[in-house]
């Protein structure tokens, strides 16, 4: 890449000055999407590896996904602590020397966990890939979870959980999750202080021993690397990482509890945090492209009905947005907006109106074309960087899809009709099928809400 300051002065036009263009220029012919060549290998230890050469900058991106879904009651607290302490010591490194070694690679390594998976994410200068893999191998095979570091991180997690539970967004998401997936591991994503305090280093070592195994895991590398050499490096570096996870039984996703709006009282709140959620379909479903576009038309981008209404017309809120969120066992529709306390009921009224309109009446062809182009274009943007491509690939492969799914998805989007969107919206955007949660000052907002719909108040 280069930067050049534009100094050439073009020759003046005949009249000496330019007429101001007044018409929006049309789009030119789109660039043909370049095929992304990925090299794959299934290692003898069961690890699936996918590599893409993308030499845009001299870096390499690393993603390792290990399935981690479990319905054990202590799983959330233990897995949270495992992810906080995995990089605090190995058989070869203490915490500081591991961190120093990572800095020397010009990179980083972090561990994240959610209900579905453990994810190691990292990056390094591309010529340091073998060193990065050696450190990862050391962590996977030899993480020691030293007691001293563990105690520090447990207290830090307790402090962070305390802070998280004071955030209205966390309170709202948890209230929604408990009704979207009642009694299921998907319901809650932040453990309680008591649950965290109960975990000891031994329990986390056992969890690592039982679950951090290559069989069923997926590794993605994207960067300025040779695919075959990278595959060989991975195979050499991780050949001693072995074993299989034990089988775990996880119940299927239960049906959401719809019914009255759940109002979580937060006295004195200057805003009400609104959340709506319901079932959707996964990406492999043939109805998915229509679901995706229906969500976009409702509230999935700025130029959507919901955002244009409650933000750009009414000024009730700053950041309303809806998404389809995909997990291993199912997909959900989620919509969120934080609105001024005094307009809580009117904001819900407008939301129900826009949802009902989507569920009952077809969208305009021009709306369909807008969201279609947005979906196709932003998909290309999301894989235009090494990091973006790596993150997309690990999510797709983890869901049983692949890059081919992504590249052929434009064609599926191109075929969606207004009628298919109406059929999809009639299902998942119907207000009757949605869970509604509001976190706000009950004393102020309750009376108006009662005039609009059934309300159930919960103490904050």
């Amino acid at each position: 890449m280069t930067a050049s300051t534009g100094t050439r002065r073009p020759a003046p036009r005949a009249n000496g000055r330019h007429a101001a263009p007044t018409a929006v220029p049309p789009l030119t012919k789109p660039a043909r999407p370049r095929k992304i060549a990925s090299a794959e290998r299934l290692l003898p230890n069961g690890l699936r590896v996918a590599v893409v050469r993308r030499p845009s900058v001299p870096m390499v991106e690393f993603r390792l996904r290990v399935p981690f879904l479990s319905s054990k009651s202590h799983h959330l607290a233990r897995s949270s602590l495992l992810s906080e302490t995995m990089l605090t010591g190995t058989s070869r490194h203490d915490r500081t020397s591991l961190a120093i070694a990572l800095q020397e690679l010009g990179g980083d390594l972090s561990v994240g966990v959610d209900a579905d998976r453990l994810l190691l994410s990292g990056s390094a200068l591309s010529h340091k890939l073998p060193d990065l893999l050696a450190l990862v191998s050391d962590v996977l095979i030899g993480a020691t979870y030293p007691k001293q570091e563990f105690v520090v991180e447990r207290q830090r997690l307790i402090d962070r959980v305390t802070v998280a539970r004071s955030q209205p967004a966390v309170i709202a998401n948890e209230a929604l999750g408990k009704r979207l997936a009642p009694g299921h591991p998907y319901a809650v994503s932040v453990p309680s202080v008591e649950e965290v305090a109960d975990v000891n280093a031994g329990a986390v070592r056992t969890m690592h021993h039982d679950l951090v195994r290559p069989n069923g895991a997926i590794l993605v590398l994207v960067g300025d690397i040779s695919a075959n050499r990278a595959l060989d490096s991975v195979e050499r570096a991780l050949e001693h990482w072995t074993g299989e996870q034990g089988t775990r039984k996880v119940p299927p996703l239960p049906s959401p509890i719809t019914g009255p709006l759940q109002l979580v009282d937060r006295p004195g709140a200057v805003q009400t945090s609104l959340r709506f959620g319901g079932s959707s379909v996964n990406r492999a479903d043939e109805r998915y492209p229509a679901y995706q576009l229906a969500n976009l038309a409702f509230g999935g981008l700025f130029s959507s009905r919901w955002v244009e209404n409650i933000r750009e017309d009414k000024g009730y809120t700053y950041s309303p947005r809806s998404v389809l969120d995909h997990s291993t066992l199912g997909s959900v529709f989620l919509a969120s907006a934080d609105v001024a306390t005094e307009v809580t009921a009117p904001a819900i009224l407008e939301t129900l109106y826009e949802l009902g309109r989507m569920a009952l009446l077809p969208i305009k062809q021009s709306e369909l074309e807008l969201v279609r182009q947005y979906a196709i274009g932003t998909s290309a943007l999301s894989i235009a960087t090494q990091a973006g491509l790596a993150s997309n690939m690990i999510a797709l492969l983890g869901a049983g899809l692949d890059l081919e799914w992504l590249t052929s998805h434009s064609e599926r989007l191109a075929r969606v009709t207004v009628d298919e969107i109406a059929a999809a919206a009639g299902e998942f955007l119907s207000p009757r099928n949605l869970v509604c949660v509001a976190v706000g000052d009950s004393a102020v907002v309750r009376a108006d809400l009662d005039r609009l719909l059934d309300v159930e108040v919960v103490e904050g």
Binding site: A3, K29, Q155, T162, A340
Partner: protein, 416 residues
């Protein structure tokens, strides 16, 4: 161009994507007294329609092209940007030129965006614990003059008082082409791009570039300490603000201070993480960074270094401050350990490469470096400039901070 607009081209045809960024040389610091938050409010107004576009059309044209857009307001500049598939390149130029020519600001749009900005402030500051900490509470302690010390999000009264006439005057003074930089990056032919830019932007009337006042202030001669109560926060926190060298006039000392901040708090091997978090278990989290929002090279003089710490025990504030001081003294007296600076530099180079991998970031960074430092390519030479900083430079940087007065703001938790 003839009207004074500076243009930066960064072609790269490897992915079918373009990034377009326009930066105007105006930010929070240029707001008039009585109009706090106006620069940010005005940023919102620039999306409300323009010479040839109705309200809502700007968003629709970008998104219907498969692109995304945004804008943001900083101390010294305001940016507007979009990234799109490359077949929408000329469209993006048109959209930016149209609002540089004349945004469509009406009473109705103004009232609507005042309401939206108030909700933005509520969701980011008033309705959440630690909202605006420390970026809104530190400046009034660290600085004395209105431009540097005031609340950049703005008070609600000032926002509500804003008028269409204010907006017109603000646009006329600060949104002149000569006060802006346009940077484009990605999949285009540079000759064709320059012609298109000429077509769309050259006809915008030339206006005088406003004179930027000197916002400099003398350093602090002694510590200043204040506290704020956060009714929603469950645990205490503290922020330390330091005045730092002028990034434009004294890049060596400034970059040495940047490396100092990195070796203090970046990653598990850094000094404050090891000392305060891991060994002494005083704090839950600690961070040291340059610039209001963590970008070390987005402000002119005077800018700042901030150190924040969150900790569970309200009585530990002085211990936390003393522990930070002790680490600074150690660097000031002994300098970095062998190899310490090299690994911090290597890490920073990796961070810069990753950032520039994104076409949009390239357009934003080139525009920013052109606007603030007169040199778009400076971002590319940063890794090299950092290699010229010595252990002694970093030691001097620590000595300068350690010997100067600073601002201390303690956050007192008001929630259970």
């Amino acid at each position: 161009l003839g009207n004074g607009l500076r243009v930066v081209l960064a072609p790269d045809r490897t992915v079918p994507v373009v990034g377009v960024a326009v930066l105007y040389d105006v930010g929070f610091r240029s707001e008039p007294e009585g109009r706090t938050g106006f620069a940010h409010l005005f940023e919102h107004l620039m999306f409300q329609g323009s010479a040839n576009l109705e309200k809502l059309e700007h968003f629709r044209y970008v998104q219907a092209s498969g692109g995304i857009f945004n804008g943001s307001t900083h101390l010294d500049y305001t940016n507007y940007f979009e990234t799109l598939p490359s077949n929408a390149f000329e469209r993006a130029l048109f959209l930016e030129a149209d609002r540089m020519r004349s945004p469509r600001i009406t009473d109705e749009n103004l009232a609507n965006q005042i309401a939206v900005v108030k909700e933005e402030i509520r969701v980011n500051v008033m309705n959440r614990p630690y909202g605006g900490f420390p970026w809104l509470v530190l400046p009034p302690v660290l600085f004395d003059t209105f431009p540097n010390a005031h609340n950049g999000y703005g008070g609600f009264e000032d926002l509500e008082d804003a008028t269409v006439e204010d907006a017109a005057a603000f646009f006329d003074s600060y949104y002149a082409p000569a006060n802006a930089v346009l940077a484009v990056a990605g999949d285009f032919d540079p000759d064709i791009a320059m012609d298109m830019i000429d077509t769309h932007f050259s006809g915008i009337r030339r206006r005088k570039r406003p004179v930027r006042p000197n916002f400099g202030e003398p350093g602090l001669s002694a510590d200043r300490r204040e506290s704020v109560t956060d009714a929603l926060a469950p645990l205490p926190a503290v922020a330390l603000g330091y005045r730092v060298p002028d990034p434009g006039a004294d890049p060596t000392r400034y970059l040495a201070t940047l490396l100092l901040a990195e070796l203090l708090s970046d990653g598990d091997a850094s000094r404050l993480q090891r000392g305060l978090v891991q060994s002494r278990r005083l704090v839950t989290d600690v961070a040291a960074y340059l610039g209001t929002f963590g970008d070390p090279l987005e402000e002119r003089d005077p800018t700042r270094m901030t150190i924040t710490a969150h900790y569970p025990d309200s009585t530990a504030t002085d211990d936390v401050i003393a522990a930070v001081d002790a680490e600074l003294v150690r660097v000031a007296e002994q300098g970095p350990e062998p190899g310490e600076l090299d690994r911090v530099r290597t890490k920073l180079a990796g961070t810069i490469f990753r950032e520039l991998d994104q076409i949009l970031n390239r357009s934003l960074e080139f525009a920013k470096f052109e606007l603030l430092f007169g040199k778009a390519s400076m971002i590319l030479s940063l890794p090299h400039l950092l290699t010229e900083i010595t252990d002694l430079d970093v030691r001097s940087a620590a000595q300068a901070l350690e010997g100067s007065g600073r601002a201390i703001v303690e956050l007192i938790p008001g929630a259970e």
